[in-house]
Symmetry: C2
Subunit: 385 residues, 2 copies
């Protein structure tokens, strides 16, 4: 059901010919209200795609009627023509839906530099076709239409106390968010105003998408949008709603991790006893971005020296000679020295857990990443084709 699980939403996904495979590539998600509350977070990459530049303006008033998303082209670094394409996409959707273009967000994903006349024509036609087929059961179709190298559609739903949250996500590479990541649409029938939606969204993405770092590469097109229809008539308990939204976001983030291009291990790097949550995230992210560590995990090698070398490059508060490191439950390093023998560690399961005890304070965080594999190199050396 994905984004159409909550009351008040319709969605569709259609094949507009942007993908050479002929698979669905344009999705539309519409909020039928009664509220039209919206919030969004965007990539912090300074090189922003045209749909990001558009959507940042459109979200300013906290009102979102619809989101149009396409795969098969990022419309990034395509100049003024590309921005006009995004603008025309919002206008076409607005005209057909009878709303203001300034309340239609646009998201694109695919190869950077793609956004010519043919691309524009297909996106505009696909937008119209998707709107013509909108349905309260269209959530799954929409989730499929935003896939690129994803092998499965990513959706999540959660039922709260009288309200529901639904979500869909795409992303399989260039997964290293700064603020937001990938294309994600979240919907809820809870009653929220724009300020509440914004605060809930930022809090939820901070502990979910922001802690996913598959390959250290930040995209130009990342966007996470939350729409609230208020159709349940229920004003949610703020703490419960925020926790539920974080849970949906974490579910989608983990689905992204598990489908990352070429990965053979899903690695959770849990940092405990840090001086601050920021320190814990910095340490976890540094390990997540260390190619030597990631290649070692691919080879089922519990190379804790590479973990410590990565921690050493951070500014976090810790004593390198007091740190403990465990891998899949075996403490291979204690107080910065060898502990249990490496061969006690079984790294053959896909799920890999690295526990880093900084022994400084009470804060903790988990960062999610993947290993560095032959398949990752292969898929990303041939992506442009």
């Amino acid at each position: 059901m994905s984004v159409t699980a909550p009351r008040g939403f319709e969605a569709a996904g259609v094949a507009a010919g942007l993908k050479a495979t002929g698979k669905p590539d344009v999705a539309v998600v519409v909020n039928r209200g009664p509220l039209k509350t919206g919030a969004a977070v965007f990539t912090s990459n300074r090189a922003k795609a045209n749909p990001i530049l558009w959507s940042q303006q459109a979200i300013a008033d906290g009102v979102v009627e619809a989101v149009v998303l396409n795969s098969g082209g990022a419309n990034c670094f395509t100049g003024p023509f590309g921005f006009q394409t995004t603008h025309q996409t919002a206008e076409r959707a607005a005209e057909l839906l009878g709303v203001s273009a300034g309340d239609v967000l646009v998201c694109s994903t695919g190869l950077i530099g793609t956004g010519d006349e043919v691309f524009r024509a297909k996106v505009l036609a696909g937008t119209a076709e998707a709107i013509a087929t909108l349905s309260a059961d269209g959530g799954d179709d929409a989730a499929h239409a935003i896939m690129t190298t994803d092998t499965v559609a990513k959706t999540s739903t959660l039922a709260g106390d009288g309200w529901t949250i639904g979500g869909m996500a795409k992303g399989a590479g260039m997964l290293a968010p700064g603020l937001a990541t990938m294309l994600v649409v979240l919907t809820t029938d809870a009653v929220l105003d724009a300020a509440q939606a914004d605060a809930h969204l930022r809090a939820a993405t901070r502990v979910s998408f922001d802690r996913l770092d598959s390959d250290g590469c930040m995209s130009t097109n990342d966007q996470v949008t939350l729409m609230a229809s208020g159709a349940s008539g229920v004003e949610p308990d703020p703490t419960a709603f925020r926790a539920a939204l974080a849970e949906v976001c974490t579910s989608l983030a983990i689905q992204l991790q598990c489908d990352a291009e070429g990965a053979s291990h899903d690695i959770s790097i849990e940092v405990i006893h840090a001086a601050s949550e920021d320190d814990a995230v910095e340490v976890g992210r540094s390990v997540a971005r260390n190619n030597l560590f990631k290649a070692a995990v691919f080879g089922n090698d519990p190379n804790w020296g590479r973990v410590l070398a990565a921690i050493g490059t951070t500014g976090a508060d810790f004593d390198p000679y007091a740190v403990d490191v465990s891998m899949n439950g075996v403490r291979v390093c204690s107080d910065g020295g060898p502990d249990r023998p490496r061969d006690e560690v079984d790294l053959t399961p896909r799920a890999t857990h690295v526990l880093i005890d900084l022994k400084v304070g009470d804060a903790s965080a988990t960062v999610y990443t993947n290993d560095l594999t032959h398949d990752y190199v292969h898929e990303n050396s041939a992506y442009a084709s």
Copy 2:
């Protein structure tokens, strides 16, 4: 001739059994004077190996009599026992050379966590054996003894106006310096005092080793040492000497780049018209660390979108929509949009040139890196063996 090219130096390299292959693994370089000037720069990784902790103390007085180097074990995260091993190595060398242990630097390279009783015994025996075979022709033997996954020994010499500089280096992985990189010993018979040696060394490494970033992974053991014997009796022109030292360091850095583990392309990322040299280096390094860009080069794919996406993550002064990018002489992106067709770019040569024009100021810098290949993943997933 490497480090024994200048007058006043002797060196040796011997097989002490640290390497399973039986190849040479302990090197000693001795300064016979008359001056015993020394300077050194070290990894900025906060997780520092025992030889780094020792050598940082030993260099404080600006006097270096000798450097003992071993491959086959990093002696990092080996606790107080490992530090004692380094200390004993310096004492053994000092005793045999008739100098102070505080004037003997120690460098180690190999697997982190290696440094037990067997390691200690072999290093101490190898140090004695190397000192017994010291020779004014021993520079090449020393250069071979510090190799790990290097496929070739790296040496460089340069003759100045009455003085000579010699150098040797090792390093094939974990190549991302902070201040210094890898194990490097530089020698000169020029007349230098400690302050001059330190200033020249820092200036030379800043524009050479500091701009080599093969895989983004900073080592725990990096050290670059300069020794001056004064045996030429010539006080060099400071500007000429600094330029010559930078040339030797750049030659060694390029040799490291060309022998990087598993690489199939040597990539020079030249950033021009930056607001500052720091901006140029930051932009170059961000591209050098982008796995998607590096995988694309491996696949001979001129994916300029990934270059721009990497630049966008920096704090450098630039307008993403004004940047030009050329690859091997073909301008594939101008003003942040597509320019020449991708298929005009020939990325089959090993030497790859990426030119990034930020169009902001007058500063420039070149960062040296490699592509991300199947062989890199393979070699680094099996390194512990």
